[in-house]
């Protein structure tokens, strides 16, 4: 009943664990069978292993949190050797979330992932571009187009581009990425945000700013998904502050084919199971046979 199709890949349900909040699934599999999820997006990978940021990495805000993890990850090769086998043993759809600081790094990462069993590449374009003085790839359409079109040329996997809400104009950004070859879009990543320690008279985070997520961003994320769904014709995965089945249904009504749950996993490790059950109950009550019936009805 709850199954959805994304680019020919069937998901048991529209609930995907969001990148960076779910590791590679191992820890959560101790609390519920992760096979029950529609899909899993891996911790953000980069070509080479990264240690991540120093200093404080997590800071609570009103109905959400800021994070500055700095893409600590084992590198694409480390993932393929040590983490992918665990996921391959599970009957679950895998999105390999890939970041990079240069276009070449993205491309080399894609080439390594091409020869694996992952189902999708989720291209994280919120990463700082070293060639552009650290401005993220996903801010200006021209930069995003470049990385997406190059990625599309080498990728043998369906390419889902994960948009940053910090883009200058989210509709133009979505349109540009699809024109450049994105097979699907996921949005949003975290909002660039600031917190100040007034006693130390310094920013809380060493990198000054950090990414805001959680229920506090939901209404803006929902608006962005709604707007993007009006200008593109590819599947959209909605992300941002989803912690209940009602939130998930809202995103679907706004045009999302599936949704990701990120910060919500910190409230309760098996929150995704509550969301899936809630969606089933709602569909039964409302006499909905397929989520297609309500997708994009707003």
């Amino acid at each position: 009943m709850t199954k959805v199709d994304i680019l020919g890949v069937e998901l048991k349900n529209p609930i995907i664990a969001a990148s960076g909040t779910f590791g590679f699934g191992r820890e959560f599999d101790e609390y519920f069978p992760i096979e029950k999820l529609g899909a899993i997006s891996t911790k953000g990978l980069t070509l080479n292993k990264r240690e991540g940021n120093k200093g404080i990495r997590i800071y609570e805000t009103a109905s959400g949190l800021m994070n500055s993890i700095g893409l600590q990850n084992p590198g694409v090769k480390g993932f393929i050797e040590d983490d992918l086998p665990f996921l391959e043993d599970k009957d679950v759809v895998i999105l390999a979330n890939l970041g990079g600081s240069t276009i070449d790094e993205y491309l080399e990462g894609i080439e390594l992932l091409n020869n694996t069993s992952i189902d999708f590449i989720e291209l994280n374009i919120s990463c700082p571009n070293v060639k552009e003085g650290g401005m993220a790839f996903g801010i200006k359409c021209s930069t995003a187009e470049l990385v997406v079109s190059e990625a599309k040329k080498v990728s043998k996997k369906p390419l889902i581009v994960k948009l940053s809400p910090n883009a200058e104009n989210i509709q133009e950004m979505a349109y540009s990425c699809v024109e450049a070859g994105a097979d699907g879009l996921s949005l949003v990543n975290t909002f660039n945000a600031l917190a100040i320690d007034i006693y130390k008279r310094k920013p809380v985070f060493e990198n000054v700013t950090a990414g805001l997520s959680g229920p506090c961003i939901k209404p803006i994320a929902l608006r962005m998904v709604y707007e993007v769904s009006k200008v593109v014709n590819v599947p959209i995965i909605g992300i941002g502050g989803i912690i209940s089945w009602k939130d998930a249904i809202e995103f679907i009504m706004a045009g999302a084919t599936a949704v990701q749950v990120g910060s919500g996993n910190f409230i309760k490790p098996d929150i995704t199971m509550d969301i899936i059950n809630g969606i089933e109950d709602y569909m039964r009550q409302e006499g909905i046979k397929s989520l297609e019936e309500i997708r994009g009805i707003i």
Partner: protein, 244 residues
């Protein structure tokens, strides 16, 4: 499968010293000394994250926590009354090794005393505790029956030695040291013990998931970044990289 957040009914929630509360919950909870639970004392989304709190004791169908009111989360928990319930996830983390022998020193600063009752109860060697406080000493009366000696220091001298607890302690007298407290104290203890006595410290960091997935709670160790909630919170002193 491990258990997800579950409810614990409050048996008592008492202020045992200004701003220091002892919380006792009913239920079949388990865990080792030095392990912790993530606590949520509210149904709302705000505060968003659960709070990590060490196991202070577990005994016949009850679990005890000792906490200091610092910000909003602990303030909300301090207002809960008998019969109210809290959600908790755990036990989490590695904990202290209790299968050790010889003469052991427990060194605590402030609320770092929280895990020491449960630890002292389970250690079989000769245990001496050194506890430092800002002005009031607390919780030691409960620990006293399980240790050979209690040493106290307060910053204002109101109880015990006036100054830091590290003034009282000589690592040469011990085979093993366990410490929990503020980072500057842990740093001092690690340096004092260097090359003399093995020391294990319980570390703190802001946490989101508490189960090892978000990489939010990592600290620098000689092996690289490690998670306080998973590889820790107890680390070998010489392996922790402090002050960079």
């Amino acid at each position: 499968m491990k258990e997800t957040y579950r409810k614990g009914i409050i048996h008592t929630n008492t202020e045992i010293s200004p701003n220091i509360y002892e919380l006792v919950l009913e239920g079949d909870f388990h865990g080792r000394p030095g392990q912790f639970y993530m606590l949520r004392g509210w149904e709302e989304l705000d505060p968003f994250l659960p709070r990590p709190i060490s196991i202070a004791d577990i005994d016949s169908g009850k679990i005890k926590f000792l906490y200091e009111v610092r910000g909003r989360g602990t303030h909300i928990i301090s207002k809960l009354k008998k019969g109210h319930s809290l959600s908790l996830l755990g036990p989490l983390g590695n904990g202290f090794d209790v299968k050790v022998e010889g003469k052991i020193a427990l060194i605590t600063g402030g609320i770092g005393i929280a895990p020491m009752l449960y630890l002292a109860k389970q250690l079989s060697g000769e245990v001496h505790i050194y506890s430092g406080f800002r002005n009031n000493a607390y919780f030691l009366d409960q620990i006293r029956p399980y240790v050979k000696a209690v040493n106290i220091a307060t910053e204002n001298g109101s109880v015990g030695h006036k100054g830091f607890v590290t003034d009282l302690f000589d690592p040469k007298d011990f085979d093993l040291v366990y410490a929990c407290g503020p980072i500057p104290m842990l740093e001092l203890v690690i340096n004092m013990c260097k090359g003399i006595t093995p020391v294990y410290v319980s570390m703190e960091n802001h946490m989101a998931c508490g189960i090892g997935a978000c990489l939010g709670c990592t600290i620098q160790t000689i092996r690289g970044m490690e998670r306080v909630c998973k590889e820790g919170p107890v680390f070998k002193g010489e392996e922790v990289v402090l002050n960079d």
